[in-house]
Assembly symmetry: C2
Homo-oligomer: 188 residues x 2
């Protein structure tokens, strides 16, 4: 559903052909917020066109390259866009961390191996945290606050994950993941 939402949102700004939509998405780093696969993009465009939310304006043939088909958003497309945005904000959608599942089941395997890959993972997450913070810092005076919120939010989420990984690592290293009856934090 995210793909449709983005396509409609971008066509709201100006008419484009699918490949161009992808370029804009990359330009704005939308591909870091969602999965961007060309197959899915073309599929969603076809689907929207079938349903009349967008329509082809012109087809540019350059004899050599494949024809470009340029799309524009229709009235019903605009209505759908508003509906999708509001729906997405409203509904609490569980965000799945596959990492959580893996760690829940990791007690069945050799803990020293888990310890080792967790170290790598922590290092990589540290880089991500720093990277996201830098991106925020670099854009702070140059982009609208809506974009800043996205950047800072990404930073905060990765920082939350990093702290979590470090606590988990301490327990893996101490081989006390299976202990029962001890709180994660000391009472004050």
């Amino acid at each position: 559903m995210s793909m449709k939402l983005v396509i409609l949102g971008l066509l709201l700004e100006r008419d484009m052909h699918p490949y161009e939509i992808m370029l804009v998405m990359k330009e704005r780093s939308y591909n870091q917020m969602m999965k961007l696969q060309m197959g899915s993009l073309y599929y969603a465009v076809d689907k929207l066109a079938d349903e009349g939310q967008i329509e082809a304006t012109e087809t540019i043939s350059s004899s050599d390259r494949p024809d470009k088909t340029i799309y524009r958003i229709t009235g019903s497309g605009k209505a759908l866009f508003e509906q999708l945005v509001l729906q997405q904000i409203k509904k609490y959608e569980q965000v799945y961390h596959p990492l959580y599942m893996a760690l829940a089941l990791s007690r069945h395997i050799d803990q020293s191996k888990v310890e080792k890959v967790l170290e790598e993972r922590i290092r990589e997450t540290e880089h991500q945290v720093n990277f996201y913070y830098q991106v925020y810092e670099e854009h702070v005076m140059a982009v609208p606050r809506s974009a800043l919120h996205l950047m800072y939010g990404r930073y905060e989420h990765s920082l939350t994950e990093l702290k979590w990984l470090k606590r988990l690592y301490a327990d893996v290293a101490a081989r006390r993941l299976n202990d029962i009856g001890s709180p994660l934090f000391e009472e004050i």
Copy 2:
């Protein structure tokens, strides 16, 4: 891939039939960490069986109900399990928040509507945060630390999201999402 990982992990504990796997997953709330669809579960079981990671031990016919096929994990299944767990921990997998995309594009629609649904969303997230914290509190003396980490991590992530939503809401309400050149936080 999470589905295969869970199936293998549970079969490592004891032999089960697909429906039973689902029951255990629900019992342990794995369905809150990942998407649990029966279609996908049966598909993954068939796939693993085809590839020899698991094998049918017996088929229980009760004349009335559909036959239950009980599966056991094989040697190659155990190897795959270890590999999948380590791989999942190692690789930094982008977690996608569809909400982020929606908010990035929300400036194209009526801000008063966005404000309204954001309020609802914040209320719901507050409930989630409290709920997750309670679940942690209730289990703190009763379950292994590995499970506590999952519960506390879920709480932290939702709390991070709540704070983010509130900051965002303030900007939507003040209609300053499109302002450029102002940091999100005051310099100290």
